[in-house]
Amino acid sequence: MAETAVKEKEPLFQFGKKERQLITDPLNDNNPITVQVLGICSALAVTSLVYPSFVMAIAVVFVTGFSSLFTSLLRNYIPKQVRMIVQLVIIATLVTVVELTLKYLNYPIYKQLSVYIGLIITNCIVMGRLEAFAMANKPWRSFLDGIGNGLGYGAILIVVGIIREVFGKGSLFAGSPIEMKIIGPTADYFINTADSVWFGWYANNNLMVLPAAAMFIIGILIWVQRSYNTKLVDVS
């Protein structure tokens, strides 16, 4: 009896060690892209520039967080047989909200991301977290878990985006208000390769802009992560 009484008094929004772990775990040990290998599709397709990847990351964090929250709130009312369709409808509603908001706020980026915003619905991370976590846990913790996984996904997206844009185009955040020109052949770049003694040989690597580069980079990222974090080696 005493135990149940204590449990009921548990505050609704506590943020202790366990909750912090829900956020930090997906960033490295249980990263959705490099360890669970979910949601690779959009990670490969949108990352040729940093700015769209950044927008995509925010959109995914929003969708994973709130779909986990809503599913968890409704989890006792969803019949087992139709739970897939219910989850899909929740996700699709959130994605529609994101899509329309983005269309209103920033039309060029919306055009650039095109169908990949809509494809957040079928991003396996969202569905996977709903099935594995939100259906069995309290709303607050599910929300944190969703946010954590979204962040883990977003972190990889931005890392890949930075690598591809710096080596492929010589710039950072192209198309955004804080565009930075890092390396290139004219005077407005930070490192001017045209009259530099050290970087005269440098040319942008066009391979990085091609879709194939994303596969190489994520493959190499998994490789690097596994060599630092040896307990991941025999997972797959």
Partner: protein, 193 residues
């Protein structure tokens, strides 16, 4: 824009802009199922079939939504239709051929969350294809998906005999190989012009 022939749409979806290797749609089954040749071909067949049906449904729904001026419902209605199509196909196969049903196993329901199918529906509406063009597009996309799956499955079967370091084994290696495949598929880019 020039008029696109059905043949061109088919070749475009299957080779030039291969769904897996150029658009990166459906990578999850691509990595998960491509271990064995046999399952790869079966999965390819099932996906092509679902693509054809959901492409027809998507065409009809889009026409309906445009008629009643409710295009913001597009995403929700597409995904619900795809989910129910997959359910229907699953029941149909279970009834008609239990052996095939057992062979496909978990992959059948997973087709719902295959981005290639939703991606196909979204692409065909954004490109404004008509009914037969949509069918050709779906067929091409399915063929391209199967082709990519079979290619990588063949490579992975051979790789089992190769000695690779434990750190790259599995996903990392598959992604690197897929990258090389994707590069080689770019050679088809000249076909359309």
């Amino acid at each position: 824009m020039k008029e696109e022939s059905l043949w061109y749409i088919f070749i475009n979806a299957s080779l030039i802009n291969n769904f897996v290797l150029a658009y990166f749609l459906g990578i999850c089954p691509f990595l998960g199922v491509s271990g064995k040749m046999e399952t790869a071909t079966k999965m390819g067949g099932a996906v092509t079939f679902v693509m054809l049906i959901s492409s027809m449904c998507a065409y009809a729904i889009h026409a309906l939504l445009v008629a009643i001026n409710a295009e913001f419902l597009q995403l929700i209605s597409f995904i619900v239709v795809i989910a129910s199509t997959v359910q229907l196909v699953e029941m149909f196969i279970k009834k008609m051929s239990p052996a095939l049903f057992r062979a496909l196993g978990i992959f059948l329901p997973l087709i719902t969350t295959n981005c290639a199918i939703l991606g196909l529906a979204l692409f065909q509406t954004s490109k404004g294809y008509g009914f037969f063009e949509s069918l050709a597009y779906a067929l091409g996309a399915g063929a391209g998906f199967t082709l990519a799956l079979v290619l990588i499955a063949g490579l992975r079967e051979q790789l089992e005999f190769a000695e690779v370091p434990a750190v790259v084994k599995g996903t990392a290696l598959t992604l690197l190989i897929a990258g090389i495949l994707s590069l080689s598929f770019m050679g088809f880019a000249g076909l359309g012009s």
